[in-house]
């Protein structure tokens, strides 16, 4: 080993790794040294305050904390001696002196302090207790606080401040009055806590505990799987008892390093919600499909229970009938980015091979379709060029049109840590956010003015010649034309459009262009516009002009929303491409699939999500199979979308709840939740990971894989897949980028990054170091011109409505509104309004208002939120009581076919 350090440990000459502490080195060599303040995993810093890990260093007056002491050459260390033992035991007695008697808990992390005392054989203290116990704090829906158990190891403080970079927990007071507090000594439930639960996992004493755990359990086992929510792809260990998840722990996955957010930590009990569909349902003859049922009606009243045999037969027969009657173009399918890779693959294969249509799409259309369009056009690949964990290698990090602390919380921890370690952070968004406080530049520009702002930055880079000409010469096409184009957008001219002064624009451009390596993260704020593709083109141009792609810490990272939106897209759940992004119009590529699947495939791209809804309204689409999607909540202009769904001759919905979409179904097939099946999922970093079955499905609910195959069989397809692994093996054979990934490898390694062409190669985390998958091998600069959002505010509708997700609520709320903790944290739709606008409207925070656009109206309470700029209101689209998409504008980006969900005109009226 290179650069090892030789020293003496308990009389033996040993080698320490560079930078290793005495305790780490001893542990590696099999010598256990007690300790409680060094966190719960290697990603924590040690505090050096508990003083249980004391060791003797020859020649030193006092003992030393082995968790903090780096090994230096020649050190002579003893880890055991009567003196050491006495000091450690006395310290343990001091820690035990003032805390109450231990109680049994099924929550393993909370037992670590008791266990340590037992290991050290110190079970009682000779010191008299001081008898003062702080009151318990049960104000939080997820976490109970009992500081009488606290030993001030400060693991929670570092969990909050360093590991998650949230900075809610700290140590207040001094000496014997030192105490763990939240914010300003507030009750946890009233603090700024985001309930990531890192502190709970890190607490060794039970002072912080998940709420409502049973005192004792039997037959507890653990399952290593994933989180079902966002594209970060956190690895999770589920602790299960009696077919019920007791609690979760973050696993040391490549994307989360043991961390979780509130959803992954506490959002799992939707799977056991009484609303779960447990029997196949068939629409009662004559029960009319009427969107009005969603205004407080009972959709179940329109259905009757059926056997699987009947339901599957009915579903398949009706799809078949429509196909025979109206042809391929009359059928469409929506798969889901929440399903596994295998499910996505099977679903698109079913639609394409049974109905000979490419009318198969999923919610990527509503999130990153425009980003993907720009990326395909510019660099020939739609996925991220490097993982978000690379933020640690970046000098400059740009976050634009994304709120990762809310929507990709664990990814944001890497960004915040990078900033703490010296990276420059630039946050660009019309709304403020949790990252604003950390940002070197918080750029709150005019909503919808992305291209104006970005073009001005690009102009500065070209005008001041901050361009990486070597890179341009070797890797990029179209520079001269682009330079001419961008000449027309100097900062002074763009400044009035975007609301950012010219000098700041110059500063930003210089900071980005002159950095050694820079990463750009973006989200729906970029993509969900009629100019979404243009927005992304500008970001790509920033990276290309400055050569910021293809190195660790330099890259483009569209933060993918759903846990498997990357994988579903990879698997071909898109109307223009077959698996592995093989264009449907590419005859050779198509032929490869025709031969593999033994069928003819259509060459024309299919319709996209919003187009399918329009076609349904026009009765061009007659029958649909919707698997795990909820367009009756997620599509723009819901009144229209719901009318369209109601007009279908036949609708098969496969889901776990009676969603708003299922209310329009003819057949509802009760499927499995994430926890009830095994399959692979691909996160935003292109890491393919294995989700394992944690629970049994409730009632007669069946695995999605089984349901899709059963329909396929009834449609005459000769399918005999045995399990997910079997499906994945087929996928490997038709998807070269996944050729090196087997289920076995996934089981063994936990995660494999694609592209991974062969089993003996690691996956490629950072792409395009040597060129781009373009015909010329070079990337292409694409010009963008500023255009206004489709619907501008006016006298009648003076406010801009912007929509999105929130930390606690996922998408259309089908899961999170039924997760008890998440729903308790954010139980109601709240319209965020700037306090000054509230004042000018004569409203108090919390008062209800009516929000009206040209397409619909809703009412909800207001939230005074300074993050929202004046003239803008924000409403998450997760609440069926006030479905934001009733108001949104279905105008589409011409390239990505994504709707302008981030911008429409509304009026706000006091109720």
């Amino acid at each position: 080993m290179s650069n090892t350090v030789t020293f003496t440990l308990d009389g033996q000459q040993v080698e320490a790794l560079p930078g290793e502490t005495i305790r780490k080195c001893a542990r590696r060599l099999g010598i256990a040294i007690p300790g409680i303040c060094s966190g719960i995993n290697p990603h924590y810093s040690a505090d050096g305050s508990c003083r249980l890990c004391m060791v003797e260093v020859e020649g030193e007056r006092t003992l030393t904390a082995s968790c903090k002491r780096p090994v230096t050459p020649g050190l002579n260390v003893n880890t055991t001696s009567p003196r050491i033992d006495k000091a450690r035991r006395t310290v343990m007695e001091l820690l035990l002196a003032d805390r109450p008697a231990f109680e049994d808990t099924p929550y393993e992390p909370a037992d670590r302090f008791r266990t340590l005392g037992q290991t050290m054989d110190v079970r009682a203290s000779r010191f008299a207790a001081n008898g003062e116990h702080p009151p318990t704090d049960t104000s939080h829906p997820a976490i109970d606080v009992d500081m009488s158990k606290c030993i001030l190891c400060t693991n929670c403080v570092r969990a909050c401040a360093e590991v998650q970079s949230n900075a809610v927990i700290g140590m207040a007071g001094r000496g014997k009055d030192s105490r763990i507090v939240f914010d300003q000594g507030d009750a946890l439930g009233f603090s700024s806590c985001v309930a990531c639960g890192e502190c709970v996992q890190s607490c060794p004493t039970g002072a912080l505990l998940p709420k409502a755990l049973p005192a004792r359990t039997h037959d507890t086992h653990k399952v290593d799987s994933l989180c079902p929510y966002c594209g970060v792809g956190c690895q999770v260990t589920y602790h299960v008892s009696d077919d019920k998840i007791l609690y979760t722990q973050g696993r040391d996955g490549p994307a989360n390093l043991g961390k979780l957010c509130v959803k992954g930590r506490f959002g799992f009990d939707y799977a056991r919600h009484p609303d779960r569909l447990t029997k196949p349902l068939i629409r009662i003859d004559g029960a009319a499909k009427d969107p009005a049922i969603l205004d407080g009606g009972d959709p179940f009243s329109q259905f009757r229970e059926a056997t699987w045999e009947e339901a599957l037969g009915h579903a398949a027969a009706c799809l078949e009938t429509a196909y025979e009657k109206f042809g391929s173009d009359a059928i469409a399918g929506f798969g889901s980015a929440k399903g596994s890779n295998e499910e996505a693959y099977l679903f698109q294969k079913l639609i394409r091979t049974a109905f000979h249509t490419n009318n198969v799409d999923h919610c990527t259309r509503l999130c990153h379709a425009s980003s993907v369009a720009a990326l395909m056009e510019g660099i020939g690949s739609g996925a991220v060029t490097g993982p978000f964990t690379d933020a640690e290698h970046a000098d400059v990090i740009v976050v634009i049109g994304a709120r990762p602390s809310q929507n990709h919380p664990v990814a944001s921890t890497f960004i915040k840590a990078a900033k703490r370690n010296g990276a420059k952070l630039i946050v660009m968004d019309p709304r403020g956010q949790a990252l604003s406080r950390h940002a070197d530049h918080m750029v709150q520009f005019t909503p919808g003015a992305d291209v104006a702002l970005l073009n001005a930055m690009l102009n500065v880079i070209v005008a001041e010649d901050l361009v990486d000409h070597d890179y341009i010469d070797n890797r990029v096409e179209g520079y001269d034309a682009f330079a001419t184009h961008i000449h027309a957008y100097p900062p002074e001219k763009m400044s009035p459009l975007c609301g950012i002064d010219a000098e700041t624009i110059r500063t930003l451009a210089r900071a980005y262009a002159t950095s050694r390596s820079a990463m750009i993260f973006w989200g729906m704020g970029i993509s969900q516009h009629t100019h979404g593709t243009d927005n992304a083109r500008c970001l790509i141009a920033l990276a290309l002009l400055t050569g910021n792609i293809g190195r660790p810490g330099a890259g483009l990272h569209p933060l993918r929303g759903q846990n498997n939106v990357q994988g579903a897209s990879d698997a071909g759940l898109i109307p223009m491409v077959l698996p592995d992004y093989t264009p449907v119009g590419d005859a050779a590529g198509r032929a490869r699939f025709e031969s593999a699947w033994n069928c003819d495939l259509p060459a024309a791209p299919g319709l996209t999500v919003v187009e399918i809804m329009h076609a349904a309204l026009a009765r061009d689409i007659r029958a649909m199979y919707i698997c795990g999607e909820n367009p009756a909540m997620s599509d723009p202009d819901l009144n229209t979308a719901r009318r369209a769904l109601a007009r279908l001759d036949h609708l098969v919905v496969q889901d776990i709840f009676m969603t708003e979409t299922a209310a329009f179904a003819d057949v509802i097939l009760p499927a499995t939740s994430f926890y009830e099946k095994t399959g692979s999922f691909t996160n935003t970093n292109r890491q393919v990971q294995l989700g394992r079955k944690v629970l049994n499905p409730p009632g007669d609910a069946r695995e999605d894989f089984w349901i899709i195959q059963s329909i396929a069989k009834r449609l005459g397809l000769d399918w005999h897949y045995e399990n997910a692994a079997h499906v994945f093996e087929e996928m490997r054979t038709v998807m070269p980028s996944h050729a090196g990934i087997s289920h076995l490898r996934l089981k063994r390694d936990g995660a494999v990054t694609y592209p991974c062409p062969s089993e003996d190669l690691p996956g490629q985390a950072v792409l395009f170091a040597d060129g781009f998958p373009m015909p010329s091998g070079k990337a292409k600069l694409a010009p963008a011109h500023p255009i206004f959002p489709d619907e501008q505010p006016d006298d009648a509708y003076p406010f801009v409505l912007t929509t999105g997700r929130m930390l606690e609520h996922w998408h259309t709320g089908a899961m999170t509104r039924r997760a008890s903790v998440l729903d308790a944290l954010e139980p109601d739709p709240m319209i965020s309004v700037n306090p000054r606008d509230l004042e000018s409207l004569g409203l108090e925070a919390g008062e209800h208002v009516t929000l009206t656009s040209r397409r619909g109206a809703l009412s909800a309470a207001t939230r005074a939120d300074r993050d929202v700029p004046e003239g803008v209101v924000f409403l998450p689209f997760a609440f069926h009581e006030a479905a934001a998409n009733l108001l949104t504008n279905p105008a589409l980006d011409p390239f990505g076919k994504i709707a302008e969900l981030k911008y429409c005109a509304v009026k706000v009226e006091k109720m």
Partner: protein, 526 residues
Amino acid sequence: MGQKGNTHPQRRTGKPFPKGRQATDADIAAVRALVGAAHRERDLLIEHLHTLNDHYGHLSTGHIAALAHLLGLAQIDVYETATFYAHFKVGDTPPAPITLRICDGPACRMAGAKALLKDALAAFDDQIQISAAPCQGACDTPPSVIMGKSRISSATVEKLTSHNNAPSSAPAITDIPPPSAPDIAEAVRKAELRGMGGAGFPVARKWAFFDDAPHPRVLVVNADEGEPGTFKDRYLLETEPEKVLRGMFIAAQALDVQDVFFYLRDEYPHIHAMLGDVFKRMEIDGVTLHLRRGAGAYICGEETALLNSLEGKRGQPRNRPPYPAQHGYKGRPTITHNVETLYWIADIADRGADAYASEGRPRFYSLSGRIKNPGVYRAASTTTVKGLIDMAGGMSGGHTFTAFLPGGASGGIFPARFQDKAMDFGVFEELGGFVGSGALTVLSDHDDVWDVARTLAAFFRDESCGKCTPCRIGTEKMLRLIDNPRGNTDLIHDLSDAMRDASICGLGQAAPNPVLSLLRHFEEGD
């Protein structure tokens, strides 16, 4: 289990505000008006807190939220720091406009500080907030009281009630000519000058740490004199500030530093006024001068705790290594010198190493307690306890010498039979004590040594930073155990061993000294 505290109704409704306390526009404006367009660095946090605390008399939740907002910090960052320091009044209830702190140190207790506290509480209405406070560095004129920014010596209730509350006047200072001492490093080495803050580390060896240190480098002046019984730094800054500052400049030049931080304890407001004025006028090439106020925390005299305090954090010591000379203020190479050390650096620059050595490596002793003329005395390092008492005119009338504290609260308590021991580094160590900062407190037949030990144990409990277990919990348990020292001897010894062996810094390591020295030299005989 603790008793039931905060609970919440089962059915929740959406909150009309985002999570956590929101800073209001009004509070943001009020705080901005006082602290200006604060730059988003945490290191000035304590200065900002002083500004608010001085102006409003307390730190309200609203103002803390607003300050956090302006500085780009989390509220917990501000709250953690604010609640650490005794001089910040954190809370929404405005306290009485005037604070009156009565010294609770050993010398002031001997001079009737407890009775004064009782009488003062009876004499004043709730317009005055009265509290006991640790040593104020005025053991030569006890009892000491600080009222607002005014220091009152030899305080009586009459003196307090008639006090006009005007700030104490700043000591006079003349301008300091640019220092030039090219050979100072060699002179300091030759003089065998040692650090006068208490540890006695050779200055030349400290400076050698900087031989290859990268820039920018930092010099910190530790004027957080807080060891009970110690007041020599105050004395030097009152009587010869020019010489101390000259020493500071010489050291800054010799060490080639880019920043000098002068960290002054908050109990010396008159010196703060003097330095604030003089720092505005003085310049030294390539060096930025920073004057910082402590905020009532004995522990910040500890070098690494002081560095954390300079960074706007809780004054908690750091684990070493890394040592500050490599990784100090904000990770920069940092050397810290005590005020008196700088004085002697200037002295050696003026007179040469030989003169310093031939005077017997003199130092300034703080003498207090039952002696005729308490005060600061310049004497050779080899001077005995008896010799110092004689310099101070002998014992006070009616008092018989029985015991003494050679090194403030931390240096142990010894019977009079050790009076011929020299008050020098390395002498008392073998007896379980040390002279530290050279604070000799003399006890008489009127004093109960166990009473003194309890006072000191309570002092350590109150001043422990709370970071490490042995000190945080140990100091509290020690105070209980010495209610019955003879019955708890074994446990006291076990606890003391753990505190000495396992505490992070000198506070916890030395905190058992008074108790142990009593057990060893008074109870067991020697």
